[in-house]
Symmetry: C2
């Protein structure tokens, strides 16, 4: 029996990478033979954290063998997981999402909590196990919380995420606001991505009742800067709509400083955004004040009007 | 918003009733407005425990309204849960089974551990929360562990179940072996049940890949005694197969003293049992030495061959 592999979702974000690294440390401390891996490229925000700490990114994998023992962090839905996950042996899941499209043949350890971030649950696991940890682990946890909650501004952020982050900032002895903003800004440097790469960077395909939709999100420090690329983004979106036979594509360009989004919306059901937010799309775009969370403020709202 | 309802699976066993009562106590201590309920008749083993403690059985329910908030203990599969569970709001699950046929629209609290008994997890929750408890709670936990592990003899029994049970026995100040055997034996007095009631007493409907199955189990102190009713049991099984359109029905008659089972198997996929245990069904029945756990020794083995 080889190592147990630990990984977050495809198109990994900072929480997926940090939580895999944290789980690796946790399991190693308990004497398990484990390895954190990843299912996609490291984004620039995550790279900022890894560089800051001087640590290596986990190894990239794309597929697991039959009966490979695996631990999932920050996801459970098979469509978001590694290829051949159906035939792997999932022994453990730590997550903060809805449960869907997931099953096992045998009992397992499963821990989900409706918190802003998987790493907050990892913090709790270390504490419950009386497992000591240092600055590096604190920074892994803190970075994931900052990322998933957009520096505590997202409506997905709970009191518990905030209070854990405060404890972690003390352990790491760091100015959270300064570090957090630098980290989030590092993630917004998307100048070297093509328009197609941009709209695929963090896109999720979902059914809004009977409406086939893709909701993509990119973080930015300047909406006008990103909107300079509107024409090529629209072109890429149109191609995706044709290719995936979508009814609607929403690209939310989210200002992480001011906590607003500019939406570019295309497709024969673009009216959904107009109805949902009482706005008029002009030239396929509308400003959505205060909207930053796809999970809490976009998918459920569009679903209600679909 | 009314009370949050807490319940175990249909055809409740001792763990399902005890864990619902324990979760009710736990949540009430945290200030939640909750009520433990049950999804079926109390069996004689469970009645023995409730009578011993002088407490009432939870109220029976069969269906929940849309958007009812619910907590599931000792199960997660919708086929084993309350009617209309698809439209309920599941806020919490505490369980020790595989995850299958389960989904939610929103993040939730989910805790599963591969232990012998849900009540062992409930014990850990009380301890982690620094929540004090007395003899009654200890007896609820201990009875559930004894029931699910057949007095620690089942292969589902882990070191942790055993060690928790030892602590509980001290708190409850009780002779576990004597109490446990009395309790298990109380559950084997099934003489007043019809054959149909017998096969439904502890039946679980499960998908073995594409094979629709019911796996029922009855505990006995004497397999030959139970096999005297083979003919009427087969009749009841045939009716259930027709009614539920099953591919296979397995009734495991489990000798709790010797730790073996006699299986009665009907349905067009009865061959699954032959393949899985390398036995030949004679007159629809086969002896399965050492097989006592549906969860560990029946469902996964049949699934592998389905």
């Amino acid at each position: 029996m080889g190592k147990i592999l630990i990984f977050g979702h495809k198109n990994p974000d900072t929480d997926s990478i940090m939580s895999a690294l944290l789980m690796e440390k946790f399991d190693k401390n308990l004497g398990f033979d484990v390895e954190a891996v990843r299912l996609g490229s490291i984004n620039k925000e995550t790279k900022f954290v890894l560089d800051y700490l001087g640590i290596e990114a986990p190894r990239l994998i794309e597929r697991v063998e039959n009966d490979q023992e695996v631990v999932l962090v920050d996801h459970n839905e098979f469509t978001q997981s590694v290829d051949n996950i159906e035939n792997a042996k999932i022994t453990c899941v730590v997550d903060h999402h809805r449960i869907c499209d997931f099953k096992t043949a045998e009992p397992l350890y499963y821990r989900a909590e409706p918190l802003g971030c998987t790493a907050t649950i990892m913090y709790k696991k270390f504490i419950e196990e009386n497992m000591e940890f240092g600055k590096e682990e604190a920074m892994l946890m803190l970075s994931a919380i900052i990322s998933d909650t957009l520096l505590f501004k997202s409506p997905t952020c709970t009191k518990e995420d905030k209070s854990v982050a405060e404890k972690l900032a003390k352990i790491a002895d760091i100015d959270v606001d300064k570090y957090g903003l630098d980290m989030l800004k590092a993630g917004t440097d998307l100048s070297d991505l093509t328009a197609d790469e941009l709209i695929k960077l963090d896109a999720k395909e979902v059914m809004l009742n009977d409406v086939k939709a893709q909701i993509a999100q990119v973080n930015t420090a300047s909406i006008p800067e990103m909107m300079k690329r509107k024409e090529e983004l629209e072109e890429a979106i149109k191609n995706t709509i044709a290719e995936r036979e979508l009814d609607i594509f929403v690209l939310a360009i989210t200002d992480i400083i001011e906590s607003n989004s500019q939406a570019i919306v295309l497709g024969n059901r673009a009216d959904l955004v107009e109805k949902s937010y009482d706005v008029k799309l002009e030239d396929n775009t509308a400003f959505l004040p205060g909207i930053v969370s796809r999970k809490k403020q976009i998918i459920p709202v569009l679903t209600k009007n679909a």
